[in-house]
Subunit: 267 residues, 2 copies
């Protein structure tokens, strides 16, 4: 959706990896909203990202906006104080901002709040996945914390993963009952149309299938609605199918979701 | 603020520890908002919390509300679909709901978003503090992961803690410049009055002073505005002073913030 006629939204993140920015990209792509993915589209884009979001001494960012702890950040043209650009950060905060504006929060206030709690839970899971390969020090190499990573991941696969998957599966069953729409079995987590909850949970599942293919395969039967119907269904949403086939969709590599065979379930 | 005439808000959490519910308690206490702290006020309160928030097989909670991943949860009288009670969960989500209703989000939309990003960042720090004593398995004993905890905490104290403290210190400096209110030096993180950002950051700092007293003392000089002016100032806010002296304010023990001398800075 990146275009040359200055979209209203600019996404600031590291180049070349899906990472935490992917949750935000999916919201834009699912709704056909134009945006600039700065570090992936301009030759000096990442320099701007670094100056705006990564300078550990910055006392402000992008004019009078407050400093950013870490990317992703979202720049919104002309929506800041005094008519300048607004800059906001933290994935959940950005999604809370975009959700109502892009029509991704359900039908009423209760839906919006439930979407918010599912998003927060899925982002917690995302963090726990990252910690499986970096249980000791985020800035150190995996190779320097391999023993601890194996212990952490063993607990994650055995205890944490089924707890999260079970919760999302129950959300789908709960929503199915609320909607009484058997024809749309397992399509949405909250309400009767796509929300950021669906996008965020889907992205984490997709990353888990990449990182732990054996583990996820072994779990498919227990969480059939989530890992079957729901996971497939989101990929057929307008905007998402084309995005996943485009070059804008980046491959997993050395980011949050990493495939280390030794950490996966051993058959 | 717990009273017998059925307050609108009921907080559902584990009894006897401040935990993640403390961020929500502080929002109620700072604004003089009546609430019921269910597990700490009714003899069968925790049974209700368990049924509502902790049953791993529940397909709904409190009538037609969706299942809850984990406490804390907030019950709001008559604000649910069809006029029933609303039940929402996830700390950041609950604070996003309460913020505007209790007047704790600043003056405009930009303030509200910046409050949201500071809250999210402070809750990330809170999670990292928890992981210092439980780096491998959240459901296992500290004693079974002591070696890894020492490694994790050493990295946390050396790298992560100053990164977070530095960010909050810079937020205070940024806001001071925006407000140009030298008389109120270091009082608020966003805008010119108390917000949930101040309360959440303050609570995490307070827990850090308990868990790592030597480390925090050694950091005081580098982050003077945050650990000096700001930390003291929040304690003087209307509602907070009395709360901190009351029996409702629970002691840290074996929750998120734990004082293991072997994990603190060794003098």
């Amino acid at each position: 959706m990146t275009s040359t006629d200055s979209p209203k939204y600019t996404l600031l993140y590291h180049p070349g990896i899906p990472g935490r920015a992917e949750f935000i990209r999916l919201a834009f792509e699912a709704t056909g909203t134009p945006y600039t993915d700065l570090a992936n589209s301009a030759s000096d884009g990442y320099a701007t990202v670094r100056n705006t979001c990564i300078d550990p001494a910055a006392l402000s960012s992008l004019g009078d906006n407050p400093p950013v702890f870490a990317p992703p950040a979202l720049q919104v043209s002309s929506e800041g104080k005094g008519g300048g650009d607004l800059l906001i950060s933290q994935t959940s905060n950005i999604l809370n901002y975009l959700g109502p504006r892009l029509g991704l929060v359900g039908e009423d206030e209760a839906d919006k709040l439930w979407v918010g709690q599912v998003v927060a839970t899925a982002l917690d899971l995302n963090n726990e996945v990252h910690d499986t390969h970096h249980p000791i020090a985020v800035a150190d190499y995996y190779e320097n914390q391999k023993d601890e990573a194996l212990k952490k991941t063993t607990d994650f696969r055995k205890n944490r993963l089924p707890k999260f998957l079970g919760y999302f599966e129950r959300m789908l069953k709960w929503n199915e009952k609320q909607q009484e729409r058997q024809a749309n079995r397992g399509m949405y987590l909250v309400g009767s149309k796509l929300t950021t909850a669906d996008l965020v949970v889907w992205q984490v599942l997709d990353g888990l299938f990449f990182a732990f293919p054996s583990e996820m395969k072994a779990r498919t039967e227990d969480f059939g609605l989530l890992l079957g119907d729901f996971y497939k269904s989101v990929k057929t949403e307008k905007g998402i199918t084309g995005y996943l086939e485009s070059e804008r969709r980046m491959k997993y590599s050395m980011g949050i979701f990493r495939h280390y065979p030794e950490l996966d379930r051993q058959s």
